[in-house]
């Protein structure tokens, strides 16, 4: 974990309201895995909180993360130009550890797709990915070429404007007997993860399932206890440090 002043290499719109920012790190911060995140300054001094963003693409000393413009902070971040220096804390949190698995079902929704892309990129040469990715509509679809590193890719949209009409969880359930996944990884809106957990239980699916959670954060490293979630037994967990990746059965969604 290092707190660095990174140089912005590019900051581009990749879908409706979604941007990818590529940072050049001044020094090695250690290996970064899919599921881990960075805590990135917006570049505006009035935003004291950094934004926790899932690692998406790592190449040499460059790391790219994607974000949705939601409030004033991300609005400002979207105006940051190449050459600017931004403070970033990284790498943070645990990751999707796929050692020991060979066939992976990937269930993603919206901006939850980015940590999943990092995971696919990390392992696709040695493992088979079957990806079911939901977007709101065709304008939200992005990084198709990265997702397409999967052995099988199903894109769904809420309105059917791209791929299949429907959602990622249903697409996986409909196809699950055609693939032999030995693990499921997922990231997406809280409601999607909740439905996934419910469906796995209803259908008696015993395949191990790991999900990446999102929460508003302070320090990003586990000290401030801001980003709490509950374990199955009701104890507090820190999304930033105990997660963000959890066994779906070990957290309350």
């Amino acid at each position: 974990m290092k707190d660095l002043l990174a140089t912005v290499k590019s900051n581009k719109k990749i879908a409706e309201n979604i941007y990818m920012i590529t940072l050049v790190l001044p020094e090695d911060a250690g290996k970064m895995h899919g599921g881990q995140f960075v805590n990135l300054s917006t570049g505006n001094g009035a935003n004291l909180l950094r934004r926790p963003l899932g690692v998406c693409i790592v190449e040499g000393d460059e790391v790219s993360v994607c974000y949705q413009v939601k409030g004033r902070g991300t609005q400002y971040l979207s105006t940051v130009e190449a050459g600017r220096k931004l403070r970033v804390l990284l790498p943070l949190g645990n990751w999707f550890d796929l050692d020991g698995y060979s066939d992976i079902a990937v269930i993603g929704g919206g901006v939850g797709v980015f940590p999943l892309i990092a995971t696919i990129r990390e392992y696709y040469k040695s493992k088979n990915f079957y990806s079911y990715i939901g977007f709101r509509n065709e304008d939200a679809v992005c990084l198709w070429n990265e997702l397409n590193k999967s052995k099988k890719l199903t894109i769904t949209t809420d309105d059917g404007s791209f791929g299949e009409k429907g959602n990622a969880v249903s697409a996986y359930l409909a196809d699950r007997n055609n693939i032999r996944a030995d693990v499921i990884i997922s990231c997406g809106p809280p409601v999607m993860l909740k439905i996934l957990k419910q469906k796995l239980k209803e259908e008696g699916i015993k395949t191990p399932c790991f999900v990446s959670l999102e929460e508003r954060m302070g320090c990003g490293m586990g000290a401030c206890l801001v980003c709490a979630c509950k374990s199955a037994s009701g104890e507090n967990l820190r999304v930033c440090r105990d997660g963000p990746v959890f066994d779906i059965n070990e957290v309350q969604l």
């Binding site: 902070g73 804390l89 929460e215 000290a223 206890l225 801001v226």
Partner: protein, 303 residues
């Protein structure tokens, strides 16, 4: 190279920069980023007798140059601290300030008695604005401050007592004097201001707790003014805090009358904020040909 060492109530700090309670846990996480033994001291996460789960999420929000938090004193309890975290902090050689809170007045006496002689200082959190059961009520009125200070002090035979003051009050000078009269060895201020951020789409407060404590760079002028007023109202030493981001901010607080400072929110914007402030402080003193940081304390002259 200027001297940075300061002494408060007989406790030596290798420099006047202390991690503020609640932003730094018990130091373990930041120690992965840098060796925390460079710090003057650490004020721990606010502790209670029993473990607490804290408030619902979201627990954090943002305003212009400020943040709001409503963690609600989530902590593993004082016994866990004594067994698991205190030995680690002792090994690090930083001054350990145990920040404590109670649900009831009696809790303060009991937790102080438990920590007496084990830590370098005890800091009373009587102003945490998030816990409905206690917190605010104790920290607002001078008669309550006097009472909780007196009880806490009577349970501390060996360890000096800091009373951390809330800024959400009528007169900070009156409250500072109440703490001094109650037997406080030192006061620290300011704790967070109470605030609210509204999600206009949902017409609801953004924080699950509705309100939260406002901290960060935006509150610094308020904090400097209050530190000035408080330090001129009492004879006991003052620790200043509120929005300190860089060495120059720390210098302002020292000039206003603080003998040491605490840094909180700045750690979120820059994980290395405190080592950078310590380094910057030394450079500032050298640049101004000042050989001892203590020389700038309380050197403000009003216009």
């Amino acid at each position: 190279m200027a001297n940075l060492q300061v002494e408060l109530c007989g406790v030596k700090f290798k420099n006047p920069v202390i991690a503020a309670s609640g932003t730094f846990g018990f130091g373990r996480e930041y120690n992965l980023l840098y060796d925390i033994s460079v710090l003057g001291g650490i004020s721990t996460k606010g502790m209670t007798l029993e473990p607490r789960q804290g408030n619902s999420v979201p627990r954090i929000a943002e305003g212009a140059s400020v943040i709001l938090n409503s963690v609600g004193l989530q902590n593993p309890g004082v016994e866990h601290f004594i067994k698991e975290d205190l030995p680690f902090l002792r090994k690090k050689g930083v001054a350990v300030i145990a920040n404590v809170a109670g649900k009831t007045l009696e809790d303060y006496g009991e937790i102080c008695a438990r920590l007496d002689g084990l830590v370098d200082m005890v800091e009373l959190n009587i102003s945490c604005p998030n816990v409905r059961a206690g917190g605010m009520a104790l920290g607002i009125k001078p008669e309550n401050i006097l009472e909780v200070t007196r009880l806490s002090k009577s349970n501390l035979k060996k360890t000096p007592l800091i009373v951390k003051l809330s800024p959400n009050v009528e007169s900070i000078a009156v409250n500072a004097r109440a703490a001094e009269e109650g037997g406080a060895d030192c006061i620290s201020l300011i704790n967070t201001l109470t605030g609210m951020v509204i999600d206009i789409e949902r017409r609801k407060p953004l924080l699950a707790n509705n309100t939260g404590g406002v901290s960060g760079a935006g509150i610094k002028p308020i904090a400097v003014r209050m530190v000035y007023e408080a330090s001129h109202a009492v004879k006991i030493p003052v620790i200043g805090m509120g929005g300190i981001t860089c060495a120059e901010d720390a210098v302002e607080f020292l000039m206003a009358g603080a003998r040491a400072v605490q840094v909180g929110t700045a750690n979120f914007s820059n994980g290395n904020a405190m080592p950078e402030i310590i380094c910057g402080l030394e450079k500032w003193l050298d640049r101004h040909n000042i050989s001892d940081v203590n020389e700038i304390v309380n050197t403000l002259t009003l216009n």
